[in-house]
Symmetry: D2
Subunit: 257 residues, 4 copies
Amino acid sequence: MKNAEVGDLAMLATLQGKQFIFKLEADAMFQSHQGVIRHNDLVGHPWGTSVQSHLGRDFYFFRPTLRDILLLIKRRSQIIFPKDIGYILLRLSVRPGGRILEAGTGSGALTTALAWAVGSEGQVISYDRREDMQDLARKNLLQAGLLDRVTLALGEADQGFDAEDMDAVFYDLPAPHLYLDQACACMVNGGVLGAILPTANQVSDLLAVLHAKKFTNIDVCEIMLRFYKNIPERLRPADRMVAHTGYLVFARPVGEA
Amino acid sequence: MKNAEVGDLAMLATLQGKQFIFKLEADAMFQSHQGVIRHNDLVGHPWGTSVQSHLGRDFYFFRPTLRDILLLIKRRSQIIFPKDIGYILLRLSVRPGGRILEAGTGSGALTTALAWAVGSEGQVISYDRREDMQDLARKNLLQAGLLDRVTLALGEADQGFDAEDMDAVFYDLPAPHLYLDQACACMVNGGVLGAILPTANQVSDLLAVLHAKKFTNIDVCEIMLRFYKNIPERLRPADRMVAHTGYLVFARPVGEA
Amino acid sequence: MKNAEVGDLAMLATLQGKQFIFKLEADAMFQSHQGVIRHNDLVGHPWGTSVQSHLGRDFYFFRPTLRDILLLIKRRSQIIFPKDIGYILLRLSVRPGGRILEAGTGSGALTTALAWAVGSEGQVISYDRREDMQDLARKNLLQAGLLDRVTLALGEADQGFDAEDMDAVFYDLPAPHLYLDQACACMVNGGVLGAILPTANQVSDLLAVLHAKKFTNIDVCEIMLRFYKNIPERLRPADRMVAHTGYLVFARPVGEA
Amino acid sequence: MKNAEVGDLAMLATLQGKQFIFKLEADAMFQSHQGVIRHNDLVGHPWGTSVQSHLGRDFYFFRPTLRDILLLIKRRSQIIFPKDIGYILLRLSVRPGGRILEAGTGSGALTTALAWAVGSEGQVISYDRREDMQDLARKNLLQAGLLDRVTLALGEADQGFDAEDMDAVFYDLPAPHLYLDQACACMVNGGVLGAILPTANQVSDLLAVLHAKKFTNIDVCEIMLRFYKNIPERLRPADRMVAHTGYLVFARPVGEA
């Protein structure tokens, strides 16, 4: 059973559920309101066990899951939520070694998940028109150890993308209906196009162009995730939930034989 | 741009949306109510284009996505739905090269998705107590070209699993609360346990034991997926939807340091 | 404890849940695949008990609830569902003695509920442009014993309504945004306008005019109703549910002081 | 067109949507952070128009709807929400002149709606075991002008109710399964029993006894209400919503003929 090593991504969680993710480095310190823990004391420590801060407070010591990483990503914009990301990965048919293009990058949540899923043999190309957002995404990807498989590119979707033979294209942009030709130009024949859109009006705009341009398998959907309180003798949903993140649209272009 | 080759997994879809998935083989024939197409005519054909049957009916010719494969899996039991599978992959933190244990196999839908996501470097071990179900799952995995990374094992969960250092364990069993020790025995420290359960009573039973056995990060949730009709000037949800597949439960065991 | 009398509205339900609603009449016969029951045998019979057909099949004998009546209404168009009707009554603030105008009548489901809720002192005016629909609604209302408080009127909404001082107006029309002045003209100051609309595009159209015409308290919502299987030791939602009936819109006009 | 009179229930709403409900009284003052308005200036004022406070701030002047009243009720406990109340009224088949028994009263939200719906000819009997809650409910009902048709009674459900021939009984109690005989004892034959329950475990308990005691038409359901932002060119659901209030259970007792 392997224990933690320098360079591993690690997570400490308080008993109240507050979580911290960081990379283990020789001689570094983890600091929180509940006390300090030396990285050197975490290196060699078994995953999935408790550790104590210098104040005697207990923390759980885990490898972060992909969802942990996504929820703790540093953000300056609304991120795509895990409930949507899981389904997007499935619909885009992302696989180890796959090649996915995304526009725009935002804080890099979906970028992170795509990079995770394509693995070290795969490639993610992510465009954004804002340099500050890409700098943030770069930091998030570096922190998660996934930057090596991502190409961050600065640019507007209307200029097209410096990419070809991508398996799928995902648009997190205000007006994806304007850039369908650009998506097709960089995708393999019969690839998958996906988009997330906050408003119904945007969905209508996109659908109109998808139909006009002879896309097929056009699906619009939304995902609602409801958590439950975890008390066995009083099982019930949480009081409140996220009502909406975005509508998801998927389609496949049909070319000339 | 690569075209279809012998050995590729291919999908033909009618204009009405009926889909067929099969492996391209020299000299084989695709047969349907809308006519016959020779595999030889598909080999070398560009993906993402139309083809005609001998009756002159149009078909779309695509590589199937993971979701296409899941929805067309041959089944003798309720399969886990794509809406749940996407989220399960995320919560189990499945990655290329990962190692996941599942019990029970059923028709092999989740097995297929796990095998897809761990890639050729990963490993999926899937237990079921019924030989007929495993035979069906084996056929489905073989058909999808994913059998090489899956070990199908016959056995009851109460006997434990011939596996170790698995990253995560997923239970699609009637009484997962009885087999938590067996899951922990084959998982790495701090792995992730997941389960899908149709009834609230089963969730209560599982929660009681998860709390008693000092699991942490205990989450119960359910995912609702709602499709929309894809007409831009009349955008509205479909008339009916799936109301329930199962409650999803996730937790992480905490061991002794 | 009163028993059934001639003229009462009665419901017979099979053990499998099939329901029949009819008015008790001297010497009439109830006929079904599970046998015949003479109305004379039901008159004087206690409500809430079993009765047997001439074939020895058991039926439950109940007064129908408003929901029973709504679900069994004869229809030639999509009716408004009970889940929506309950909330509409609340939002329109319907009360005994109240006065409500509705356009269009359709098969008369909402009309029936409005007539029920305003009571014998209230008034419902219901417009439709199709005579055949109003004939159907008239039959349904007569059958339910509620026709006395309903005025069915033939006409187009753009011609306005022969009514004044209505407490609220409800539109079940394709383009309610075209008839807001007509609604205001027949409502009391500060009344409530409601509408049900199947598509998001229609909602956008209506919202634009509501904002332009200085309406306030503009609410858009949708109601999802999920049933559960009623087995105590296997409590779980039903497999499928209605995904969409319509978006509900409510607003109040603000006049000049 | 009638204008406001002394004794009317009135609502003032700020442009930001904050609402205040009160009874118009000669010489009284309405006071808020946005200024003071004399009741004498509201008496004779047309409903559905604007009024200004002494600070020059605009308020909308409306008769409150039933929903307005429910949402502004003074509460010391979780109230039943309008989304549930509308459906409960329908399922209990509440009508003008009807007779409904409720236990427990709580802050009186459902009591208020029942009193509204049965009208001046109807009767609502509401039990609670806590005197302080009933005092609060009494104030709320008095404020809404609905106390005349409500009998508030102090008592435990296990002692039964001083009532007979009620059309329906509604339980908002932690353990309604213990008091089914008491409900039947005060209901007409074939009445309707309803209950709201926060947890799945309580629903299972109730279902077990409903089946054992030969109830029929046993329905369990939940209602989800999702609001939309009301911007026509950016139509989308609100960000967050209520995920759960309670499970609703309805059933009808079958007696001996």
